[in-house]
Amino acid sequence: MPFAVGILVNPVAGMGGSVGLKGSDGAETLRCARERGAVPHAAEKMARALAAALPGADARFLTAGGPMGEEVLTACGLPYKAVYSPAGETTGEDTVRAVRAMRDSGAELIVFAGGDGTARDVCAALGDEEMPVLGVPAGVKIHSAVYAVTPERAGQLLSRIVLGEARETAEAEVMDIDEDAFRAGRVSARLYGYLRVPLDRTRMQNRKSGGSSSDARDVSAIGTWLAHEMKPGRLYLIGAGTTTRAVMEALGLRGTLLGVDAVKDGRLIAADCTERDLLRLIEPGNTSAVLSVIGGQGHILGRGSQQFSPAVLRALGPKNLIVAAAPAKLDALFPSPLRVDTGDPQLDAELCGYIPVVTGWAASRMARVER
């Protein structure tokens, strides 16, 4: 049976960008974009990706009707089966329904063209499911780590997946900014969840050492090490993300994926803390925070964990921040630095410099932090 690939195009993705709207979320923005003369580009990006998937890939395609995939597959001359039909103007709800229909029809991978808003809808459709997805960048905002660098790279990766050369996956961040705030000139990104993406091993081809590095094993080793290193009587604030979740797993605790949990002596003190909770909990000099790195952007503060406000960070003290990230995540960032964006320029300046980042059992790397 050929490998089943779901093809999904968000036809309106990216329309706001060309006319200066910094996003395309919401019917009103879209109407405004059309008035300013915006034309859809997402289908063209998907076509570029499919063209770059080298011929001969043994795949069958599932898609959604009309502009959501059917048209581009027809234009590319690829046979397909439409498993969902949108009614009229497409919305985020159509993305959710189309993804679920492809999953129910046996898709083994969903390739979608869109932006951060589309990634959020795909994430909402799949929840915690293991279904891998691959993003073709077509949106105005691409903060999520679920997108290939270019449509062509997505196509090349797709063909390698179909050929069975790249079946390993890792969880990647779905990020989005508040578009209203962005249009008003403020950047305020949030972590909305995780999608499972194929690991692009273009930078890690060899197997001289006999084994192969696995993101999941590396993250698990980080969790085990940090749990092992915890000191009795000390309070640990475990930040958001899959890397830090591994610490909770190593402790046998149920953590909050997108929130901050407080742990002491192996016990959960408070879950999903607010900034106010953290200020109340922090014991000066006896509290550490465990943070991770947002893939693709390198932020350790200011994206994803707004609870770690400047007030919280000052109460903690910069010396008490423990940063952890799997080697593959840091390799992908190389040579870019890690970044902080707390909203307090003076605090950001204090946090800049070189810090050790925990990368595995007893292992860390020095990394440069910049604003």
Binding site: Q156, A166, R203, M204, I355, P356
Partner: protein, 528 residues
């Protein structure tokens, strides 16, 4: 390959490797077949010996071991077929295995190492009956005194990573003796061998890895910050690193490390560009190790047996693995076990003697000037290959701001990937069709589409031309014949295989028993 060099327009793809399609030896097994019929005791001898003619019942297996049963001619064929389906330093221009210092091992040295006077010795012979080999080991140490500038030597470690483990063991014994066991952290660099972090971690240390700066040198500011993160026991560094870049600030690193109280350990697994040019002692290292199976021409032996010779300053002699080989007028050459502060043994017995003999013979045959010429030739060969490879469209060198390289260089096919979609894994598969191979890199994977070429002094200009022509040909095929690249290798023993089986511990099988545990039949995984 030599004929390729002479006539490469027509001969490039004429190679075809043997592909015997032979089952694994367990499947060739036939119950009752034997390669050797072991003679039984003559009846009168057996009668005279009585119960002493038989093995004690406690030593006899109740069940025969699960070994293949096969006749001698079939066995000989089996091994010959395997050897034809293999690739080695004596069957190709082996310059693609960068960082490993593949060089020719003169056959005469094998004869010395396998002569009965050495091969038939037993490690439990008294020192007084082993004066010859002990003298060779002791003299080998004397040569390394010149090569490294350090004072004492052990050939006990059985390989390169084992040499690092031995140095980490000495570091641990040293700080335990000084009452500073709270020094719990070591520092290494991105492009040192990953074992420079891994082995100290095995010894209970935390390891901090330094990134390179824009020029590709270990980041000095990051190093200063790392020294402040905790109590540093030692630094473990390669120089030149796997990129081929020599850290010209190395004396600054060892100075800062010493100021922080740390010991300085040098990974000279590959010293092939430095012989007679620069030494561990002048860079102010306290310890170093050398792979006798790389720079010093003994074969790698597919993972051993080998020697990672450890050298140290006098101040660290007390902590070295015991015993050390020593000499005095009265006792002659002897094994000195009187090292009460020693880190202990790091391996059974005293070191792999044939490897020490080959290295000794190689060094003595070249002499001091010859060693320097070997290194200079390796550097020249590398510079020549760089020129040829960087002329291939799509190839580039990592850290181009730092052009000079020593004995090897790490390149990138990033441009080729951008143009054609084919990268280093594709080139690696296709190169098997030309009867040779190359290696990409090990972690950290920060150089896109990497490959690492190290043309040691063994190879002629014609060899280097032939190898570089193969790379150029493949890069050209990536642009003009994508189908050819996609299906490669075509002329090798095995063809393009799914990586799924290497990435999944539930699927890979390293032995027949392992295979049977995991599989019902060919490529039908029992469990995910």
């Amino acid at each position: 390959m030599d004929t390729i060099a002479q006539n490469r327009d027509t001969r490039l793809d004429r190679f075809h490797q043997a592909s015997w399609n032979e089952p694994v030896i367990y499947e060739l097994s036939k119950p009752g077949e034997r390669g050797v019929l072991v003679p039984q005791l003559p009846s009168e001898t057996a009668a005279a010996a009585g119960e002493f003619g038989e093995l004690p019942s406690g030593m006899v297996r109740a069940q025969a071991p699960d070994l293949p049963e096969i006749g001698q001619p079939q066995l000989a064929r089996h091994y010959n077929h395997l050897s034809q389906e293999n690739l080695g330093v004596d069957s190709n221009i082996d310059i693609g295995q960068g960082t490993c210092t593949m060089k020719y091992s003169p056959k005469v040295n094998d004869r010395l190492a396998s002569c009965p006077k050495l091969a038939d010795m037993h490690p439990y012979q008294p020192d007084c009956t082993a004066q010859g080999i002990l003298e060779i080991i002791w003299r080998l140490g004397g040569l390394f005194k010149e090569i490294s500038g350090l004072d004492h030597f052990s050939i006990q470690p059985g390989g390169g990573a084992h040499g690092i483990l031995a140095m980490a063991s000495v570091v641990r014994a040293y700080w335990a003796d000084k009452g500073e066991s709270d020094r719990d952290t070591i520092v290494t660099t991105f492009f040192s061998h990953p074992a420079d972090a891994a082995c100290p971690i095995v010894k209970g240390y935390k390891a901090i890895v330094l990134p390179p700066d824009a020029e590709g040198l270990p980041d000095l500011e990051a190093f200063k910050a790392a020294l402040k993160t905790g109590r540093i026991a030692a630094i473990f560094m390669t120089n030149p690193e796997d990129t081929g870049i020599f850290n010209r600030r190395i004396a600054e690193f060892t100075r800062l490390a010493h100021e922080a109280g740390a010991l300085c350990c040098y990974d000279q697994a590959n010293a092939n560009g430095l012989l007679g040019i620069t030494r561990a002692a002048e860079a102010d290292f306290d310890m170093s190790f050398f792979n006798l199976h790389k720079t010093f021409s003994s074969p790698h032996g597919c993972g051993g047996p080998a020697v990672g010779l450890v050298a140290c300053r006098s101040a660290l002699r007390a902590y070295m693995p015991a015993p050390l080989v020593e000499h005095d007028e009265k006792r002659g050459y002897y094994l000195d076990f009187d090292l009460p502060k020693s880190c202990g043994k790091v391996k059974s017995f005293w070191g792999v003697a044939p490897v020490a003999v080959r290295a000794y013979a190689w060094i003595m045959s070249l002499g001091a000037d010859g060693l320097k010429t070997a290194s200079e030739t390796a550097i020249l060969n590398n510079a020549y290959c760089m020129k040829k490879i960087l002329a291939i469209p799509g190839a580039s060198i990592c850290f181009p701001e730092h052009q000079p390289r020593v004995e090897q260089a790490r390149y990138s096919w990033e441009g080729l990937k951008k143009d054609t979609g084919f990268g280093t894994a594709d080139v690696q598969r296709r190169i098997a069709d030309f009867g040779t191979h190359y290696w990409s890199s090990h972690e950290p994977w920060v150089i896109p589409e990497p490959f690492t070429i190290e043309p040691s002094e063994s190879y002629s200009k014609a060899d280097l031309d032939a190898y570089c022509a193969v790379l150029a040909q493949i890069a050209c095929e990536c642009r003009e014949q994508p189908e050819l690249i996609k299906g490669a290798p075509h002329n090798s023993t095995v063809h393009h295989i799914s990586h799924d089986y290497f990435d999944d511990p539930a699927k890979w099988a390293l032995s027949w028993r392992n295979y049977r545990q995991k599989y019902d039949g060919y490529f039908q995984p029992k469990k995910k």
